[in-house]
Symmetry: C2
Subunit: 556 residues, 2 copies
């Protein structure tokens, strides 16, 4: 306060810039004084031990990702921090349920430890749905007691996305017990409207990030939900949802990336990409930046973050313009972000694979030849469709039929070497030869394999066991490319640029193999997620999500 009074010099004074007030959503011509990592004053004439010239620049609060899974970046947390801090994201609210599925609650405690010293603020929500449904097989379920233990820790804000929305709506005791653990509960309610939406809200759910249309988002906001506008690799919903902001203002809206792949971060950025797109689409920059910072902090009840005002943490961006939103400089707690030292990864985090070996026979499907249920992949959406198709047959065997774009899909349990394999068919993929597989397969992260050749499928799955998890492509009986993800089978220990280079090359390879699906690895990674409609596949079999039950491959 002595600094604010002008009696002592500040640690740093940012001079000459235009500062965003998120409280009036306008630019103030004022200096900003920092002491002990916090803004202590906004006004003229402050002196500091250091001075930062922000003439002709805009100064905005650091951006906050309101809902995301770090694991989807495929980067270790230190490298993730380097990547997004450069884009102006200074805090994220992470649901670590990928780690929790693979490593149990110990994985979440490890994440909290691994992020404790980062200049990126990593808030955590206690994962609520491990497994996401009874149809998935994680290493072990996350128990109510374990959630409560997490909620007692620093930086844990509330209960993470309640993905089992049918269970909540039905009033299932287990789900309501989770909701009762905290006052702040994130939702996950794709397509939910009307009475079911009312019931979900009456249970105490506060936010949603799954709206895909303006009308759906508007209904949710009218009923009191915080709307987390999403721009994920597999679900680019931002432009569709922006009318909500343009017609009803930015209140109760913030931005989230949910699941964003490395290429998206490298090529377009992070939350700053959402600000850029929103402004390009006609949202006022002041509104877009406020949604990207303060509104996210408010939505999660994070005090003293997301604004340039006395008492707030001095996380801020120096911007050259209000078009590009790539920061010239990022300050975290009042200091320019410097080099981030590597965070060590313990051996147990690096040895998560435990799959039984498979052979080509493991992927054989037999049947009568009647109509089968086929998963129709939808580009850039997490939703899938269901088609009912007459399968190609080979005697009693039902086989892939690349000519009709029917590929085989399988999920191999990989936590307890049970040898369990769920099998089915998918379309709108385009694969003409070989197979590809990944241990990134939401949410249980068993091995998901797509292929038109059973031997190549087996080759992929077995190779993943050898390299500690990752992504591989095989054709003609040999592995063609691979990206190891040894950290829980989810994250690389390589730099972002290298991860991006390899994934890009592998996507190009899939293109050569006929794949027409954009972002195929991300798209495929959601085909095992049994809580997003319509038809999914887990190691337990095909899941009819709207009716929340396992269904046989053959119809009727």
């Amino acid at each position: 306060m002595a600094v604010a009074r002008g009696d002592e010099p500040a640690d740093l004074v940012v001079k000459g810039g235009r500062l965003l007030s998120v409280f009036t959503r306008e630019w103030l011509e004022a200096d900003l004084a920092v002491a002990d990592g916090h803004v202590v004053a906004v006004g003229p004439g402050y002196q500091g031990r250091e001075t930062l010239d922000a003439s002709n620049c805009w100064v905005a609060p650091g951006l906050i990702d309101a809902h995301m899974h770090i694991e989807s970046s495929k980067l270790m947390v230190d490298e993730f921090a380097r990547a997004v801090l450069a884009q102006g994201t200074t805090a994220v609210v992470a649901d670590p349920h990928e780690l929790a599925n693979v490593l149990g609650v110990a994985g979440v405690h490890w994440l909290l430890a691994a992020t404790a010293e980062l200049p990126l603020e990593v808030f955590v929500m206690a994962s609520s749905c491990v497994p996401a449904s009874p149809f998935e097989s994680p290493r072990e379920p996350l128990t109510l007691d374990q959630m409560a233990e997490l909620l007692g820790r620093d930086r844990v804000l509330g209960v993470a996305e309640m993905m089992n929305f049918p269970g909540v709506i039905a009033g299932e005791g287990g789900e309501l017990a989770k909701v009762a653990l905290a006052a702040h509960i994130d939702g996950h309610a794709p397509g939910l409207r009307g009475r079911d939406l009312n019931a979900y809200l009456a249970a105490g759910i506060g936010t949603d990030h799954e709206a895909t249309t303006y009308e759906e988002a508007l209904e949710k906001r009218r009923l009191g939900m915080g709307v987390l506008l999403r721009e994920a690799s597999g679900a680019r919903n931002l432009v569709d949802l922006l009318p909500l902001v343009k017609l009803h203002g930015p209140d109760h809206c913030c931005f989230c990336t949910d699941d964003r792949e490395p290429n998206f971060i490298v090529e377009e950025g992070h939350i700053n990409q959402m600000v850029r797109v929103a402004v390009a689409e006609g949202v006022r920059p002041e509104d877009a930046l406020t949604m990207g910072s303060y509104n996210a902090a408010v939505q999660h009840g994070i005090a003293r973050l997301g604004a340039l005002a006395p008492g707030y943490q001095a996380d801020l961006l120096i911007l050259d313009d209000l078009v590009d939103f790539r920061p010239r400089l990022v300050l975290k707690r009042g200091r320019p972000v410097g080099a981030i030292p590597p965070v060590p990864v313990p051996a147990w985090v690096r040895s998560s694979m435990n799959a039984a070996p498979v052979t080509a026979a493991s992927f054989r499907i037999t049947g009568s030849g009647r109509l089968v249920r086929v998963i129709r992949v939808i580009p850039n959406q997490l939703l899938t469709g269901e088609e009912q198709v007459e399968p190609a047959t080979h005697g009693e065997e039902l086989v892939a039929d690349p000519a009709r774009d029917l590929v085989k899909i399988a999920v191999v349990e990989r936590h307890h070497a049970s040898g369990r394999v769920g099998k089915g068919f998918a379309t709108a993929v385009g694969l003409k030869r070989g197979a590809f597989a990944s241990t990134v397969a939401h949410d249980a992260h068993n091995i998901i394999v797509l292929g038109v050749d059973d031997a190549d499928m087996a080759l992929c799955a077995n190779r993943l066991g050898e390299i500690g998890g990752g992504i591989v492509i095989a054709s003609g009986g040999s592995i063609r490319a691979e990206l190891p993800l040894p950290i829980a089978g989810l994250m690389s220990d390589l730099p972002l640029a290298e991860v991006h280079r390899r994934l890009t090359a592998m996507e190009r390879m899939l293109l050569d193999m006929g794949v027409t699906l954009p972002s195929p690895f991300m798209a495929v990674s959601f085909l095992a997620l049994s809580v997003i409609p319509d038809l999914k596949l887990t190691d337990q079999g095909l899941v009819d999500v709207p009716n929340f039950r396992l269904v046989p491959l053959e119809v009727g």
Copy 2:
């Protein structure tokens, strides 16, 4: 949730009305279903055991007073609840520092008990400044431990207005210790701007209700303060502040009455009067109602109050129009507000007067005849001015001079029978004969007396001792009128209409005695409040508020 799903009938369905969504600030044509006192659904087609026809009506959330002192209504809490519920106020955030000054912390615990069963929701802030300054003499100071004890109780939201803003800005340990007790701290910063405002905010203060100009309120909001627009009997700031809403939107703004006299409530209403005025001045009704409900709940971190949405408490108003805002019906927790039984008052609350008897000589002032400091009362403001005037003399005595509108003012200590009397002069009052006195004299609530006749002043003060406190008028050597306020010397046990009738008659009597000051009892009750500039009087003497020190009557 079964009701929200439509599987079970609601307790009540409000049908056919237009419902305010505070989240989009628009009207929805929808039914509203209530179960267990909460809104469980908003939408079409719900069935209930009871139905309320709201056709052609507007349905809004119950109004919330964001900062107030119940004691200023001069009503016992049950009668206050009857009065404001009828106007649509369903919750108040009360700082009970008047009771705390008179009764100690026991008075606050009593208030919590006395309001526990009311259909009006009474939230409490832990009074932070008892006494308001070292220049005032309450029964006993409220200690840090007592504040912490209060903060542990249900319905206590945070630390009440930190009136000792100079102490906070100076970084005094005692004041910072109070701020450290809670995350949510109300401010009180009349006229505070620039560096001092920055320092006050850096200490962690969250709100302010003392702004009197648009520019001041704008500066405070830009820096992150919640702006509680005030419309008190002694400080009608609303119209002056409305440009903040019209130019910058309703975010971070809400309404408060602070200190509102009975006549104001009877004649104009409560928070609904502020909504009415705001709308008449051009604010959108949706914005005004949102400020009057949801925004106040957000500002105080009150969950599940102030909105018509699933999970929110079913406090709501049925309105016939968007002009008058006098509700046709008020529902609290989903039920029409019925008769409120009387709340008993214990004997110790009724016996707070302990003043030493005074005589005319107690009010004699002697001096040299040099310039004296005179309190200039400012109509409809809590601020006063200071004038320096040559006094009228009578030998060594300095006397009142009605011809020049110079009246005597005195404050008689009344908690510990110390016999201490602070004396001075005031102008812009108009009194031509006699005297009047009150035990409502913020914040210590000692006896404040204004008069042009020392004997009448003594008569008034002694009479207040006899009736347990209240307001009296004397002239020509006898008591002319009185309103007993036996509850802590602050509140009546009569109905609002009777309190209003008596006060109106007494104000008329003062008018006959020459008084030109509007709302004279309220105005006078702030002349002893040593934390609002410029010049005030306590039992300890004249207080120069900007310099925060006692000053002698005579200049230099």
